[in-house]
Amino acid sequence: MNLILQGLAWIFTPSHWVTSVGNVSISTRIGEHFYYTGVSLLVTVLIAVPIGLAIGHTGKGRGIAIVLSNASRALPTLGLLAVLILGVGIGLLPVAIVLVILGIPPLLAGVYSGLESVDRQTIDAARAMGMTELQILVKVEIPLGFELIFGGFRAATLQIIATVTLAAYYSLGGLGHYLVFGLAQNDYPQMVAGAILVIVLALAVDGILAVIQRFVVPGVSRGTTRQRRTARGGAIPPVAQSRTLIKEGQ
């Protein structure tokens, strides 16, 4: 417990927030962490969202997507990073590749299961009213499935933010640096400080996304989720009568 206090003291030492010779400030490390996260997240979104929409809209290719997603879960991140850094050299590229590989499965699953959660009858009705496929996608499927889509985005973001920590092991910086460096130097206060910073960052981002999720999810989808599940005859859990459960069930 004493170490936790020492870790906190390390974080609140003013000199650790200033970049000087042989010392990179905490804020710079946070910046690096967000930089890796942001770039990878952007690429992940650009790849996973179109594919997910295509799978969810057409219902084709889901089997392959699931197999690939599950297989990618078995890949050990640390090893993948090592191979890529040995292959293409140290820098943003190997980290980004690994992070994108990790980020795609949750986002992809969120997007296509979001679209699939939309009641078929609603889509048929939209089509009968003369909506084009694109209109159905943009005006019906995406809004109604948005809760799951955003859930996938949140999961992908956290996956990426957590994994950036490992990049520090290969001297790529980010907040994991203090953790890895402190460990290597037997400087336990620094190591604990690194762990605290990484944990706080992950929890803070998750908290912010949770709040955003509450606001951006279109209000209609929540009330109708229950009716949709009942109407479909899908197993509706006995406790699902509460709105909380459906909200959490992203």
């Binding site: 050990p76 990790l102 859930g151 996956q159 957590a162 460990l183 762990a195 959490e248």
Partner: protein
Amino acid sequence: MNWVWTNFDMIWGLTLSQIWLSVIPIVVGFLLSIPLGYAASRSKAARSILLSAGGILYTIPSLALFVSIPVVIGTSLLDPTNVVIALTIYSVAIMVRSSADAFASVPEPVQDSATAVGFSGWQRFFAVELPLAGPVLLAGIRVVSVSTVSLVSVGSVIGVSSLGFLFTDGFQRNFFTEVWTGIIGTVIIAAVFDLLLVLIGRLAMPWNRRVSDRKLRRVASRSAVPVS
């Protein structure tokens, strides 16, 4: 390839420790998640507390959790127990949601009829609810198994030996073969574990009730992804 044969003993040793380090969290996580998930399926308050706690724990990056365990419980930093405890925390955190969903998926009329024909609470749980929750539980534990196996290797950063040692060592020696051996070994272990779980599922649920694809898919898309 030569390298693999000459170092086979070392690789086999690392494989065994990787297996041990992952089997314990998978089994313990599964066992713990059953009562927790059951409680979560019975009470709204329990559900919201357990699932939020699970969500928060699972958000913590693995490396940070690995070094936090000794700080909190006072074990030595190099103790493999730290990795086992950390991975058990993750597996419970992921599994409790699957388990809650699994028990919630047992239709209420079925539970009521079990009570009506005279099952006591415990009988009903073991003879009716648990078997019917089985397929969703299986889907959940398969996710836990794969992610646990691949996370064990992160332990090598804090000096807990597993196939992850091949990553750190191979990287320092700039030796591709060694790193690849570790990756392939990890994937093989994950695949074998998955196969075993499916087999156990077949044996334990011989009626082979096919849960609708949709239900499993919902669980799969919802269940947590491994945190690295």
